[in-house]
């Protein structure tokens, strides 16, 4: 995308200040410090949605709604997305890409060996449990998973599957009761799913878990679509070496997260930043960015033919499915709530809390966000 930027705005120089590592935690630390010190970068990347709520509340981000009008973005992005981006009537970031977090990746060979149809899809979780049982019986890991955040991602998928998109959204807005029995049933399903996973999950990060599917050690892996990059890099062919489908029970729902760029208050080169945001939001910029990354553009006018097979299915889904915000990736709740949820998930995953406590802790975690 930098190439496109340089083409569109040849007079502005782009300096990449990326801080590698730690799944962004190192970058977040530095960002927090710089923003507190009133020494902000010109722009920074953050997940669109509630993740930037803290920055907004602290008065550290500029309202870019006017840029949306100026660059004609209101018509280019789907209305559901715009709604999720709007806070108190204002918009504070420009999404560069859209990832889908409710996908399952599978290894057909492992499935066949377990006596399953590799092309089968599962309408609900209970159907999937039968299949998972068969894989477990065949001696392989049924569902590979990694450290805490991937478990939170699995949890959100289960909630989405069992509760449906309206109630799922209600979990975060407060209209769904966390203490209800439907949530309890979903948590029971989550607990059951965990029994199919590898016991060393806390030792691993997501590439290790996805690798287990690639290597044929595990049958299924629930992961966002950045997993495609891992398959492609190892020259695996979709359909033969691996298959994918939406999380059982979530067909017709697109669980989104978006990498987006912001305009901090006091950005030293505000005009340059605005130019960058224009590129980020432009058709050309988004196409270039997403082709490389394996995600899809936020714009509805992207040409599917430019993208790979998986991306085309994603684009189609994004265009017609119900869009819901991801929990694990900062769209649905602010950081403090996500941290509290992660703590509860980690505790439950180690067997240190029972289902009832888990449910109470999750309810309390979400309530943290509401009391602000």
């Amino acid at each position: 995308m930098v190439g496109v930027f340089n083409k569109q705005h040849p007079d502005v120089k782009f300096i990449n200040g990326a801080v590698a590592g730690g799944a962004g935690s190192a970058a977040k630390d530095l960002l927090q410090t710089r923003l507190q010190a009133k020494n902000p970068p010109d722009t920074f990347q953050a997940h669109a949605g509630k993740e930037i709520a803290d920055y907004i509340a602290a008065g550290q981000l500029q309202d870019v709604s006017n840029l949306y009008d100026e660059f004609g973005l209101r018509s280019a992005f789907p209305p559901a997305l715009l709604k999720l981006l709007t806070v108190d009537g204002k918009i504070y970031s420009v999404p560069a890409d859209i990832h889908r977090a409710n996908m399952v990746w599978a290894n057909p060979a492992v499935l066949t060996a377990a006596g399953l149809d590799p092309k089968a899809t599962y309408a609900k979780l209970s159907d999937w449990f039968t299949a998972l049982d068969k894989v477990k019986a065949s001696g392989k890991t049924a569902l590979s998973i990694a450290t805490t955040w991937t478990q939170v991602q699995l949890l959100e998928n289960v909630l989405l599957s069992d509760l449906g998109s309206d109630k799922y959204i209600g979990l975060w807005t407060g209209s769904t009761d966390w203490k209800g029995s439907d949530v309890g049933a979903a948590l029971a399903d989550y607990s059951k799913l965990l029994t199919y996973t590898n016991t060393d999950r806390d030792n691993l990060d997501w590439p290790d878990a996805t690798q287990q599917v690639i290597d044929g050690k595990a049958a299924f892996n629930v992961m966002g679509d950045w997993a495609v990059a891992a398959f492609v890099e190892q020259k695996k062919v979709a359909g033969t070496d691996y298959t994918y489908f939406p999380m059982p029970g979530t067909t017709g729902v697109f669980d989104f997260l978006a990498d987006s760029f912001t305009l901090p208050v006091g950005a030293p080169h505000a005009d340059g930043a605005k130019a960058w945001l224009q590129t980020v939001g432009s058709a050309e910029g988004q196409t270039a960015f997403n082709k490389a990354k394996g995600s899809i553009p936020a714009r509805t006018d992207a040409k599917p033919a430019d993208f790979s097979e998986y991306q085309q299915t994603a684009i189609k889904s994004f265009g017609q499915d119900t869009i819901v915000p991801s929990l694990a990736h900062g769209a649905a709740v602010p950081i403090a709530v996500l941290t509290a949820i992660s703590d509860a998930v980690s505790k439950f995953g180690t067997g240190s809390s029972n289902a009832a406590t888990f449910q109470t802790e999750l309810a309390a975690a979400v309530a943290l966000g509401a009391s602000k």
């Binding site: 590698a20 590592g21 190192a26 630390d29 530095l30 410090t33 010190a37 590439p207």
Partner: protein, 303 residues
């Protein structure tokens, strides 16, 4: 009080009490000399190997190629020796290593001078409350830095000291004061009083005494303190993580990101990186080991 550390200490350990046969817990009548001694050697050897286990894994893995350097092949000899990992580690970490040197050297030098001044004053100047002052300074060495981290963040922001090496130098100097003061005070306590008094008789004031008499004889202690501060600042992670980033910070942060942050774990380079990051302190330890040990011993508050 602690005697002058370093060479004499090491020599002492080597000096043996003549005539005492090693009689450990051994049943009477058994071949005392042979059995006990063999047992001891075996134990020592066992512990030696145990301590070296992680080193073996580190070294061996750092020379392994991508497929070879995986956890299930941790104990095997490399299939094919490669220096690629070292090259990758060097490329990523050398800027951080340079920055760490830039941080550690000034910090060690400044904090040792401060410690020397404090140690001298506190060992020579007997006023009511001198002990209290010393204890108050010493307590600073024990506080968990978490107890001051939040306000420290705010104050550093407020003072506009740039994030990264400058902040860290300041912090290591400040929080190094207690331990350097302790080591120097212990040292000066052992300096013969006549030396100082002789200077005083000649009419020299305290400052003059310090500059012309005390400083020159402090060299052994300076060595100890410099080594200690060098190692402690080089290995620090807590301050680095709060006050710098992998871009402007020392090698501990860079290593942590390099080894633990990458998307696809490259174990070989991580191990090479760990060795690389530890190399300077290990070299100091090997070359100046006796002083290192001396520092350890004089750094502990003897009861």
């Amino acid at each position: 009080m602690t005697a002058i550390p370093a060479p004499t200490a090491a020599a002492e350990v080597l000096k043996r009490r003549p005539g005492t046969a090693p009689t450990a817990v051994v049943p009477p009548g058994a071949k005392r000399f042979g059995v006990a001694r063999t047992l001891r050697y075996l134990l020592l050897l066992f512990f030696l190997l145990a301590v070296l286990i992680p080193v073996y894994v580190l070294v061996v893995t750092s020379f392994k190629g991508p497929g070879d350097a995986s956890p299930d092949r941790a104990w095997t000899w490399p299939q094919a020796w490669t220096v690629d990992n070292w090259r990758a580690a060097w490329t990523t970490l050398s800027p951080a290593i340079l920055r760490t040197v830039q941080m550690v050297v000034p910090a060690a030098i400044i904090s040792s001078f401060l410690g020397s001044m404090n140690g001298f004053v506190l060992s020579r100047w007997r006023f009511r409350g001198a002990n209290l002052v010393f204890t108050l300074i010493l307590f600073g060495m024990f506080i968990p830095y978490q107890a001051v981290m939040i306000p420290l963040l705010k104050i550093m922001l407020g003072m506009n000291i740039p994030n990264g090496i400058p902040s860290l130098i300041l912090l290591h100097v400040i929080y190094g004061i207690p331990i350097t003061t302790l080591i120097f005070r212990n040292y000066y306590e052992s300096v013969p009083a006549e030396l100082i008094e002789a200077a005083r008789v000649d009419g020299a004031g305290m400052l003059r005494t310090y500059r012309s008499i005390v400083l020159p004889i402090s060299i052994p202690s300076f060595v100890v303190v410099l080594i200690w501060q060098f190692t402690s600042a080089w290995n620090d992670f807590l301050f680095a993580v709060f006050f710098s980033s992998s871009q402007n910070g020392p090698v501990t942060i860079a290593l942590n990101n390099f080894a633990n942050g990458a998307l696809l774990q490259n174990y070989g380079s991580s191990m090479a990186g760990a060795l690389l990051a530890s190399a300077p302190t290990l070299v100091v330890y090997i070359v100046l080991g006796r002083y290192f040990i001396g520092g350890l011993m004089s750094g502990s508050v003897k009861g």
